[in-house]
């Protein structure tokens, strides 16, 4: 018809859209890992090289378990998405530095095989694998899991120390200065201590649009409001609130755990309710139960994710408040 065709090669057929955002799951996970690095460096400064060993062992164990599980069950390999690395680092972040090294391996098995893969792998798990593993370890090995050491006492002269939250629960202001709490000079899990650097990482994730503001803001604001209104032990409300916000795993939990995609809602309204729920349960546990309630609070709210998504389903376009009059 139109002369000799210039090309006789087959053209590829595909469905639109024919272009794609460069951001992939791996990309997002890499950003989360980057955001955790400053806090990890700080933990090495405060607790020594063992903190890094712990994180490495935990991350490596997660990757190995993920690889083996997928291989043994003849499923496509998924370690490339880096989500196992994130789980490993987060798990290590909520362990005390002197824990035996086999414990994170047990935790990694629980997180990856039982919580994540048995449910179908990434995207299918109901609760956050790292947090579930932490709670599993906490309930199984309470002594080791609460053996916190004071900052800069690593090595032979490790000194056991009460965390600020343990004091606060008794209605006593911790010995640590508020500024040191904010900086991260306090006993605790390796990744939770530096509020400053965790905030920095959180802000990085917000700027990169890896996470949305709703969950961390709703979560932290709820904790702030309630601790301000109801301080214990006759402490001034504002002081009590500041100590509560800077102690324990709140910042780590609010920015890095509660925002876990798989186990948190996808709508803005759902995320706000979810954040508020996390805050309420955290404070409730801190007041009436264990010194720290972040892990339990997030795990409990994980269970509400599907319900919150359905409850807060957006009103579809064409049926909203601004619908045109006919």
């Amino acid at each position: 018809m139109t002369g000799e065709p210039q090309t006789r090669k087959f053209l590829k057929m595909s469905a639109s859209p024919h272009v794609h955002s460069p951001v992939t799951t791996t990309f997002l996970m890499l950003d989360v890992i980057l955001a955790l690095v400053p806090a990890l460096i700080w933990s090495v400064y405060v607790f020594g090289w063992r903190a890094l060993t712990l994180a490495a062992v935990s991350a490596a164990a997660c990757v190995v378990f993920e690889f083996l599980y997928r291989r043994l069950t003849h499923k496509p390999d998924s370690i490339g998405d880096l989500s196992a690395v994130v789980t490993g680092i987060l798990l290590a972040f909520c362990l005390p530095v002197n824990i035996p090294l086999w414990m994170p391996v047990v935790g990694a098995f629980f997180a990856i095989v039982i919580v994540k893969q048995l449910y179908g792998g990434i995207g299918k798990n109901v609760v956050n694998p790292a947090l579930a593993a932490r709670v599993f370890l906490f309930l199984s090995f309470s002594g080791e899991m609460t053996g916190f050491t004071a900052p800069h006492t690593h090595g032979v002269d490790a000194v056991a120390s009460a965390t600020p939250l343990a004091s606060l629960q008794k209605g006593i202001l911790p010995e640590t200065e508020l500024f040191d709490l904010f900086l991260g000079e306090m006993p605790g899990c390796i990744g939770e201590v530096s509020v400053t650097l965790l905030l920095l990482g959180g802000i990085y994730l917000l700027c990169r649009k890896v996470i949305a503001w709703h969950i961390p803001v709703a979560y932290i604001a709820t904790v702030a409001l309630i601790t301000y209104l109801f301080p214990t032990g006759g402490i001034d409300g504002f002081t009590f609130m500041q100590y509560e916000l800077c102690s324990g795993g709140l910042i780590l939990g609010a920015f890095f755990m509660a925002t876990d995609y798989v186990t948190s809602p996808v709508t803005s309204r759902g995320r706000i309710i979810y954040g508020i729920g996390c805050g309420l349960i955290t404070v409730f546990i801190r007041y009436f139960g264990y010194p720290e309630g972040v892990s339990f609070a997030i795990l409990i709210m994980n269970l509400f994710t599907l319900a919150l998504d359905k409850l807060t389903k957006p009103v579809k376009f064409g049926g909203g408040k601004t619908v045109a009059k006919q």
Binding site: M1, T2, G3, P5, Q6, T7, K9, F10, L11, K12, M13, S14, A15, S16, P17, H18, V19, H20, S21, V23, T24, T25, F27, L28, S78, D81, S83, G120, G121, I122, G123, K124, A212, Y261, V262, T263, S264, P265, V266, T267, S268, D309, K313, P314, V315, K316, F317, G318, G319, G320, T322, V323, A324, K325, Q326
Partner: protein, 448 residues
């Protein structure tokens, strides 16, 4: 402040041809003109093999119901009438193949409207638009005469859609810069046809130069107004366009005319102007030819029915690494399988893309429930859930989550980090549900 809507995505604009003036395509040796280039019934061929046709001569029409006549875009001899697959891949369409005699003989029927714009009646304009075979040139290809008719008495305002939100495409942009009078003239004719006094020309703010040209040409004419929109995809979708301009949501299943607006593409308006002032029906259009695997990206004015092969040859040929050809923009355009496919009334762009753009190369991973698709959906749906329900063939939940409201803009799939072909899952399910409803309606009608 430029106006906008909720949701949507910022895609790299890739408007590589924004500074490429419209080039007239040299007369092709043959054209193959499809009888269906519009929504509605296909036209029936009016000419037989061996007949001689002139430029602008009617060669196909179908007079009952919604349809659009088709005209010869060159003069010459009808060599064949062939059935070929339609460009969407659904069914076959008759194509009239015309061999060019290079005489460029214009049909005697091509005559300008004898009356002045002030003296014509709406019906006369509708008749001119209908006879000129004009259908929406932005993509949807709805017959323009029918759109005008549907707006009479209902619409309060005309919107000329110059958003051009798809990446790559600059055809409307160049038209605004080079031939603003045709667009503005068309807008005035459309106002007259609808008996209205105000038209908005909506331009995305990455085309401020074009907006400035239009504003200058409008001068003191208060019936026309240029409004800037934020550059965001899919701003050119009529629902998002209406929301940005008027702050109202078009209810599902309603036409813009039902809520007071009629929307025409910029080049459609220009075609109306040409038909009115010269009598020349719609026989050519501006096409952006671009992509990383085409020799020389260009904006060209091409006779309808010209083959992709000829277009690519004129644009420096396709490169070795060409992997796919897209009719339209990269977000909603349809992949083509054949270089013999032809330029139609709604072909705003032809993209030749390399394997770099292979969306299949990154295999689909599992949805990680990140919610990015929910945030970008301009129809405020939950695409992640829709895709999951569609995959599981859960029709009830699909409908509950508004599957039929999906406009298939592809924002969800563009943004998905797991590369789930979300919109494709939804599209399949939509088609299934619609087919089932049709069947049920037909069987219900039979029982009665």
């Amino acid at each position: 402040m430029a106006k906008t809507f909720k949701g949507g995505i910022h895609v790299p604009s890739s408007k590589n041809t924004r500074n490429s003036p419209i080039v007239e395509f040299p007369a092709p040796k043959t054209v193959s003109i499809p009888m269906q280039q519009h929504i509605g019934a296909p036209a029936s061929p009016l000419v037989a093999k061996g007949a001689h046709v002139c430029v602008g001569e009617v060669i196909g029409r179908f007079d009952s119901g919604l349809s659009c006549p088709v005209h010869a875009s060159i003069s010459g001899t009808v060599k064949d009438i062939e059935m070929r697959p339609s460009y969407t891949g659904y069914g076959k369409t008759a194509h009239i193949v015309i061999e060019n005699d290079f005489q460029n003989e214009v049909s005697p029927d091509v005559k300008p409207c004898p009356k002045k714009l002030d003296d014509v009646t709406p019906d006369e304009i509708i008749e001119i638009v209908k006879n000129a075979g004009i259908s929406g040139m932005g993509g949807a290809a709805f017959p323009t005469y029918a759109k005008i008719a549907s707006g009479i008495g209902k619409a309060k305002e005309v919107i000329i859609n110059c958003a051009e939100c798809e990446p790559y495409i600059t055809a409307n942009h160049r038209l605004m810069l080079e031939e603003p009078d045709r667009i503005l003239g068309g807008a005035r004719i459309l106002l007259k046809a609808l008996g209205l006094t105000h038209a908005i020309l909506a331009v995305e703010d990455n085309k401020k130069d074009a907006a400035a040209v239009l504003t200058e040409k409008i001068g003191g004419d208060s019936s026309l107004e240029v409004v800037l929109l934020k550059t965001k995809y899919p701003q050119g979708d009529e629902r998002q366009l209406m929301y940005a301009l008027k702050g109202v949501e078009l209810p599902a299943g309603k036409l813009p005319a039902d809520v007071g607006c009629v929307i025409f593409n910029a080049e459609t308006a220009a075609a109306v102007h040409t038909a009115f002032t010269t009598g020349m029906p719609l026989i050519n259009r501006v096409v952006t030819v671009d992509g990383d695997a085409i020799g020389e990206p260009k904006n060209i004015r091409v006779p309808l029915g010209t083959s992709y092969e000829d277009v690519f040859a004129f644009c420096g040929g396709v490169k070795e690494n060409a992997a796919r050809v897209i009719n339209g923009g990269p977000m909603m355009g349809a992949a083509q399988w054949d270089y013999n496919a032809v330029i139609m009334k709604n072909t705003s762009a032809l993209l030749v893309l390399s394997d770099e753009h292979d969306t299949d190369k990154a295999a689909e991973a599992a949805c990680i429930h990140c919610g990015k698709c929910v945030g970008v959906c301009p129809m405020h749906l939950m695409p992640n859930y829709l895709a999951a329900f569609a995959k599981a063939d859960n029709d009830e939940m699909c409908e509950k989550f508004g599957v039929l409201s999906c406009v298939e803009c592809g924002c969800c799939t563009y943004i998905c980090p797991a590369r789930v072909p979300i919109v494709q899952h939804i599209r399949n399910k939509k088609a299934q549900i619609q087919a089932m409803r049709k069947k049920m309606a037909a069987s219900a009608a039979q029982k009665m």
